[in-house]
Symmetry: C2
Subunit: 357 residues, 2 copies
Amino acid sequence: MRTSATAQEVARLARVSQSAVSRTFTPGASVSDATRERVVAAAKTLGYRPNALARSLITRRSHIVALVMGYLQNQFYPLVIQQLSQLLQREGYHVLMFISDENETDGALAEILQYQVDAIVIASAMLSQDLAQQCVDSGVPVVLFNRLPDVDTTRPHTISVSSDNHEGGRLVAQHLVERGHRRIAFLAGLENSSTNVERERGFVEGLRDAGHSVWKRAVGHYSFERAQAATLELFEGTERPDALFAANDHMAIAAMDVLRHQLGLRVPQDVSVVGFDDVPQAAWGSYQLTTVVQDVPAMVEATVTLLKERMDNTAPARSIVIGCRLMERGSVRAAPSASSARASVRRKANVSPATRS
Amino acid sequence: MRTSATAQEVARLARVSQSAVSRTFTPGASVSDATRERVVAAAKTLGYRPNALARSLITRRSHIVALVMGYLQNQFYPLVIQQLSQLLQREGYHVLMFISDENETDGALAEILQYQVDAIVIASAMLSQDLAQQCVDSGVPVVLFNRLPDVDTTRPHTISVSSDNHEGGRLVAQHLVERGHRRIAFLAGLENSSTNVERERGFVEGLRDAGHSVWKRAVGHYSFERAQAATLELFEGTERPDALFAANDHMAIAAMDVLRHQLGLRVPQDVSVVGFDDVPQAAWGSYQLTTVVQDVPAMVEATVTLLKERMDNTAPARSIVIGCRLMERGSVRAAPSASSARASVRRKANVSPATRS
DNA sequence: CTGAAAGCGCTTACAG
DNA sequence: CTGAAAGCGCTTACAG
């Protein structure tokens, strides 16, 4: 069934040695033009392509990078898959995809390692630290994408690429305080994920520096459904939050839908909402979500840079943190309304052009 | 750097032959319990894992399946990635991801083939027929996912899994006609994609059978931005469509945002909107999009079934078409309003529970 | 059950 | 520049 020709067959047809065939397909190897032409012609008639598996066996480089992901409902991750695989492809690598299932991760990881991958990228806030550690232990370069290594795992081999989540959290705090919010709620993601921890820490610090604090808190576990439930929880009772910071856009959108369509509240008139990530949906007309931008292209580029450094051992191990910025859209009110904020400050109307409806 | 132990080293430590080590890790091979125990112990101390590349070289089975995708903004495709890779993983396969870039597809495909993949799944409505043909020509089993082979490529090797897009189109036509719509617009996807062709054909036939026809048509190329532009085009002029069928949810959502936030129209009171796919966003509170459900789990299962049939050659080549059904949400009006449909039929109010807002 | 040996398809010193 | 040869780490008849 596997009818593809071998180098041996090409050699026979071209009347050269098998070495010559190999050299023809090895950039930089020395072959005369005459030989090369004969080989190329023979290869063409036979439909020959070098067997990458055999090559990897002897070069000890598979040019395969494993990409480990969890939940793809959050559009942030498809973005990462797309951009990262395209860049890796351009760099001559191939992506072995691995969707982890919480349960059967260990066995599947073992299988990944059997494929002699040159490196592993772990891009999931939800992944067990255990799995990450196993990867590191295997001796294959590992880059944690969008998550920091646990403190007790900080070794030279554990490198990471992430946004400055702490700074992002501060930006949100400052923004909400500036807009006059006082009853500010936080919708947390996964409690033990570094993204959630850092965003919350920055947020809490930012509020504290302005003399405020988190007024109410609930946990959405980065899940759409649980974020909806958590939003109901935050808004039960008579005194409601006047602003909500969700630890990612995915949850912020879930929250907005609950606020508007289940609780009958207006965003941003009754409640301001801020997210984190800047996924494509955040820009959609129905949400116009103000959010913290994670610079995916920069994160992806940094990942590939680190990967190559690790694989070539050309530089000491290091991690990279990418800066964030706030993207203001229409989900945060321009000025406090006296009724909801009990603040009678009135500011100039600052209606975003995109907000008219 | 690559410090992982080899079977030879394990054999030495266990004082057995290298064959015995191999047999221990080959399910079904005959090894005595005593030998197996010694080998397993030695393997454990050395951290040995069989090298899958070397194994593939000799067994002529890589257990790698290539997954070729295009655009991931449409949430349908991440769903497919997730479900398909999880099922393939459970079946002992690994997914080599390939995001095609319209341009550099050919070279990258050649690389995929070098990795001796056992099969290729092409899951993109946007992929050039050329690429699909190349895959088929390579002799590796190819399954077209969510697209049909071109007529002139229909060979035993070109097998596909798709929804009954034609039937889906008919369902939408019937539904819109039943709800009293007469000025019905169609927002087309990629003109030459089989999904678009089939959905439109079914839609046109369904309207025709009811004595109607498509009132206006524009092309969104399955792109969010182009769908937005196409929507503006459809709704310019004084006589506007009273219903819109978009060839997928991704475009339907783009259209809804334009209708509501740029044109100030209400959905469904002023315009009904129907999509196709039933992506997670279709169920979001802001859209409540009525749509045709593509049964992704069934499609994925069918894909793996066909893949295995092809790889084992256990059954004649065949394609599978999965049935569709209409998921009614809130984006289609319950009864015709006299003003917009010029139909004075009045039907019983049929308010969906999800529509209150 | 077990081991020696051939061989999967390649790359890469080594001589010439 | 070129070819013969060794070897990457495995599996699998083949004898025993």
